[in-house]
């Protein structure tokens, strides 16, 4: 048993394993790069880089491969065992040791980011304010009721609970606080509402002359807009059916218990510990061109009755309370001069935000130490030789 264990340690700390892992990672990176041309970044990232195992379709034969997630896990063990714990100590390996610490930090930051971060965006027109940001890809269903004092109560259903309700399946959502059950069916991952014309028939229900048309999934994942049919069924059996669509401007409203209830499908939202108000968005172009030279958003950060003004611009994010807000984009792209513009701020909650920078310093120092010593020895040898 002990021998087996030692053998295992030997394998995990070996340079041979390092080479195999580096080559595998290179192969996955290469394939994942080429696949992006046809399948888009989002799908490729899930399949090649965030997975433990995958089957690559090479056209001729399917090739099973370990995913980059698995390779990196093993690589972390390899670096820890071979590159640090079992490394011979001394000046000759000091640089290598330091470099490996840096790489391990980098891997650690990657794992933290992958499992403990949230990202999304908050999009505001000038004058608008928000204390939430929303996902680019994930969806949620919300049932909304008025709570008085200008507040709303939202009952939230994450996408895992309803996104599979297609192909004749339906999902029933309920809550003791709601006077109805909600049946969700015909969920489409990419859809568009269209008026039903007299010249064609559709195989989904038509509500108020409008139906949801399923669209092919597109490779740019954030362009897929989910849609669904929802039916509110009250205790006395009354059914109210409607459409919900991922980027709808207003909710589908049902009446129950003499009250309005809004039902909406939207990108998943995350609360922020403060709210931001967009005061002014500035977009400048290089003179006489359409090439942007500066984007920036003047925002007010409001938190516990205090507020402060901040400018967020390209390469100059706002970091506050574990969140980072970046100037990401703006729109509408077809706006004419004078039209109101919106600004999209990317929002990321990443506990490992600054690790890569520190890791970079450590790695740079390690590499310089290692190769600097080597270079000095080499110069000495050459000097002796001549």
């Amino acid at each position: 048993m002990r021998r087996f264990f030692n053998g295992l340690i030997n394998v995990f700390s070996s340079l041979g394993l390092s080479c195999v892992l580096l080559l595998l990672l290179a192969l996955l990176t290469f394939l994942g790069t080429l696949e992006q041309v046809d399948h888009g970044l989002y799908e490729v990232q899930k399949k090649y880089f965030e997975s433990f195992f995958l089957v690559h379709d090479s056209g001729a034969v399917p090739i099973p491969l370990p995913g980059a997630n698995l390779v990196l896990c093993v690589l972390a063990a390899n670096i820890l065992l071979g590159g640090m714990i079992r490394l011979r100590r001394g000046w000759r390996t000091a640089g290598v040791f330091v470099t490996h610490i840096g790489i391990a930090m980098l891997l650690l930051s990657g794992f933290i980011k992958m499992y403990h971060s949230q990202d999304g965006h908050v999009t505001l027109y000038e004058g608008e304010q928000s204390a939430e940001f929303q996902s680019y890809y994930r969806w949620e269903l919300a049932v909304i009721e008025e709570a008085g004092n200008g507040e709303l109560t939202e009952h939230i259903v994450p996408q895992e609970k309803f996104l599979h309700a297609s192909d004749g399946q339906s999902v029933t959502l309920s809550s003791p606080e709601l006077p109805f059950e909600l049946e969700v069916a015909n969920v489409m991952r990419n859809s568009r509402p269209m008026p039903k014309g007299p010249m064609f028939e559709v195989d989904v229900p038509v509500v108020d002359g409008i139906f949801l048309k399923e669209q092919d999934l597109v490779s740019v994942a954030e362009q897929n807009i989910a849609g669904a049919y929802v039916t509110a069924v009250t205790a006395d059996g009354e059914r109210q059916e409607g459409l919900v669509w991922g980027v709808e401007r207003h909710p589908f409203t049902v009446r129950a218990d003499d009250k309005n209830w809004g039902i909406t499908l939207r990108h998943e939202r995350y609360p922020m510990p403060f709210s931001v108000r967009l005061d002014r968005f500035t977009k400048e172009e290089h003179p006489r061109t359409n090439m942007p030279s500066v984007f920036s958003s003047d925002v007010t950060v409001v938190e516990d009755q205090t507020s402060r003004g901040v400018e967020i611009s390209m390469n100059e994010p706002l970091r506050d309370e574990g969140l980072v807000l970046y100037q990401a984009s703006w729109g509408p792209s077809n706006a004419r001069p004078g039209d109101p513009l919106f600004s999209t701020l990317a929002v990321v909650r990443n506990p490992a935000d600054q690790y890569p920078l520190w890791a970079c310093w450590v790695i740079a120092i390690g590499l310089l130490l290692h190769f600097g010593l080597k270079l000095m020895r080499y110069i000495q040898i050459e000097a002796k030789a001549s």
Binding site: L15, T29, Q36, V37, S293, A328, A346, D353
Partner: protein, 673 residues
């Protein structure tokens, strides 16, 4: 009669080309230049400032990239067999538009484009140049087709469709500049109306500058007379508006206000509309227009032309200087005039030839002279290149690398410097020869890239790139990584080819040295590519909120790092020895090429800058050559092993242990799986 003909012509966007035959003898746009433009004229014209592509540049730069875009090169041969430089050509377009429309300045890469336009030429080659007049009957069809293809994505267009879109845009560009000075040469008849006449001191005909000066007054008369659209005042304004339309492309006039208040320069057209709407027109601006008119009048009189051109230059450069926008014009003019990169290329070629002879005649005095000559040529070439890069940095106020073109010259310079330092350390003549080769290839590619891309190589940068801190750190580091990696790949290729042909077969020291150099340069490369790649992530984290997004360019950089780390670890583990490392390092040259250019060709991601098929060809040529060398290296390895096996039957001892590092070994290379 003449008046409406002019209008008709202007409606086409190019008054100059449409003057009726009957009026040809006295039309100001007809005629041909009698003598070559003088040196003095070219110098003055070249220094005129123009705002184009978001920055203020000399007219000579504008002319040179415009001609490159239309003609595929920066010079042109006229039907009279005169060879013109770009500035000369632009002056002809401005002042002898009719003659210039006969110059074959439209390069059409494929005869099918001409056929698609419904034209037939029996005397043209498959790839040939055409004049404006030759193409003209097909314009209607050309624009129809281009409108249709414009809606396709670049990648979806066939080459012919792509060229049709390009040709249509080139024709539009020519249209927009060929009539640009019509305002300066056309005399505007005032008409008989006494009130309008009085406005112009009773003159029968006036110039555009005078019309611009009184545009507001004319408008007031028009308003006072009940907005009668048949009134003489309105007719005159209409004519001014039409002339203005043909001069709305080139922003040759700096505003009188500060650059912060009014960043956009003005065209002669803008001046008309500013005056028309506000009545506020600066005296300097009227003077600018008058200067253009005076120049146009003196086009056939060298001394007068030079004098008036000097006046215009003094006027606009003075305005630009007051805004702090003229300071670097002289530097840029001199940069292009000095042809530093071309001279550097010539020296690299010379050095390469000397180095080639050096390896043929390595011994004695001849060898020493050749070595000295090659080293000197490489040194001077590198210094010239560094000077060029430094001047570019000064002109742009930026770190050395911010465009793909600049990566090429920077990589070449850094590669040459690293090779020279290596040569300084070991003086084995290998590094300096590689430097010569690398310099030659690098600058050939840079020139080729510039010709294919046809864009100003000192462009304005989009917002996210507009950060000198990250350009100086991440971009510079990663580019140095490319450079050293490529140098290592070249050294390794030299190792493999030398082995293949049996060069100095008996000298173990030669190969050992080469291997050491390769390793040293590779180590240098690892530092920069690793740090550069991570810094790229840190930058991305600061501008988009994600350290790593698996974008193709990021992946490309990662691939380089992984390739280099694999080689390093395989060497440590003894899995690869001298020969194996050379093969792997040579192969990793194609990984660098993929990251540097190949990822841009994929057409996805944040770093794809838009590309041409010529680069595709060059890239694949390099892949095949480099893979060929690696393959031949494998052959050389097998040959060597069988030779050793034949001479030493008991030589097949066990491979070295993992701890024994290949570099210390003088044994023939052995590979272990």
């Amino acid at each position: 009669m003449i008046r409406w003909k002019n209008l008709l012509a202007i409606a086409l966007g190019a008054a100059a080309l449409c003057i009726p035959a009957a009026a040809q003898h006295d039309s100001p746009s007809q005629g041909t230049r009698q003598a070559a433009w003088s040196e003095q004229t070219l110098d003055l014209a070249g220094r005129l400032p123009i705002q184009d592509g978001g920055r203020v540049k000399p007219l000579s730069t504008y002319a040179s990239f415009t001609l490159l875009r239309l003609n595929g090169k920066r010079s042109l041969t006229t039907p009279a067999d005169e060879k013109l430089g770009a500035t000369e050509w632009l002056l002809d377009v401005f002042f002898y538009p009719h003659a210039a429309a006969d110059y074959e300045c439209f390069l059409v890469e494929n005869r099918e484009v001409i056929a698609a336009m419904g034209l037939k030429f029996d005397d043209k080659k498959a790839r040939d140049r055409f004049s404006f007049f030759e193409l003209q009957p097909g314009f209607e069809r050309l624009y129809d087709l281009a409108d249709e293809y414009k809606h396709l994505e670049d990648s979806q267009r066939t080459p012919v469709q792509q060229q049709i879109v390009i040709l249509a845009s080139n024709v539009s560009l020519f249209f927009s500049i060929v009539g640009h000075l019509d305002f300066a040469r056309i005399e505007i008849p005032v008409g008989a109306d006494p009130e309008v006449r009085a406005l112009f001191d009773g003159q029968e005909a006036i110039g555009y500058s005078e019309l611009v000066g009184k545009a507001k007054e004319l408008r007031d008369i028009f308003r006072r007379t009940g907005e009668d659209r048949t009134s003489p005042a309105f007719a005159l304004l209409g004519l001014g508006g039409e002339l203005a339309r043909s001069a709305e492309t080139l922003a040759l006039v700096p505003p009188a206000a500060s650059a912060a208040d009014e960043p956009e320069w003005l065209t002669p057209s803008d001046l008309f509309w500013i005056s028309y709407e506000s009545g506020q027109i600066d005296d300097e601006h009227i003077a600018t227009l008058t200067a253009f008119e005076a120049i146009a009048k003196h086009r056939d009189d060298e001394a007068g032309f030079e004098r008036e051109l000097g006046g215009l230059l003094a006027n606009t450069s003075g305005l630009a200087d007051a805004r702090g926008e003229y300071g670097k014009i002289g530097l840029e003019v001199n940069y292009y005039k000095s042809k530093l990169i071309m001279r550097s290329l010539v020296l690299f070629i010379l050095a390469f030839l000397l180095a080639a002879f050096l390896w043929l005649f390595p011994k004695g005095r001849v060898g020493r002279i050749l070595h000295g000559g090659a080293s000197g040529a490489v040194l001077v070439a590198t210094l010239l290149l560094c000077a060029a890069i430094t001047i570019r940095c000064m002109i742009r106020g930026r770190p050395p690398v911010s465009t793909l073109y600049e990566t090429l010259i920077f990589v070449t310079a850094v590669g040459a410097i690293v090779a020279l330092i290596t040569e300084l350390i070991n003086r084995k003549r290998i590094a300096v020869s590689t430097a010569a080769f690398l310099g030659m290839v690098g600058l050939f590619l840079a020139n080729g890239y510039e010709t294919l891309d046809k864009q100003d190589t000192m462009p304005s940068l989009v917002a996210v790139l507009d950060t000198n801190f990250w350009l100086a750190t991440h971009v510079t580091a990663i580019t140095i990584g490319y450079s050293a990696g490529m140098l290592a790949a070249f050294l390794a290729s030299a190792y493999l080819l030398a082995k293949l042909v049996g060069f100095r077969r008996t000298e173990r020291g030669f190969y050992k040295n080469l291997a050491r150099m390769t390793y040293g340069v590779l180590a240098f490369a690892i530092i920069f590519s690793t740090v550069g790649t991570i810094l790229g992530g840190v930058w991305a984290n600061d501008s988009w909120g994600r350290f790593w997004g698996w974008d193709p360019k990021e992946n490309g950089a990662l691939l380089i790092v992984l390739a280099q780390l694999t080689i390093l670890h395989a060497r440590m583990g003894g899995y690869l020895r001298e020969h194996g490392i050379a093969m792997a390092t040579a192969f990793h040259g194609t990984v660098i090429a993929f990251s540097w250019f190949g990822t841009n060709l994929l057409g996805v991601g944040l770093h794809s800058y838009g590309f041409t098929s010529g680069i595709h060809t060059a890239l694949w040529t390099y892949y095949y050559v480099q893979w060929g060398i690696v393959g031949l290296g494998g052959v050389a390895f097998l040959m060597e092993r069988s030779r050793i096996a034949a001479s030493k039957p008991d030589a097949k001892k066990a491979p070295a242990t993992a701890g024994e590092i290949a570099v210390a070994s003088t044994e023939p290379a052995t590979q272990r799986p």
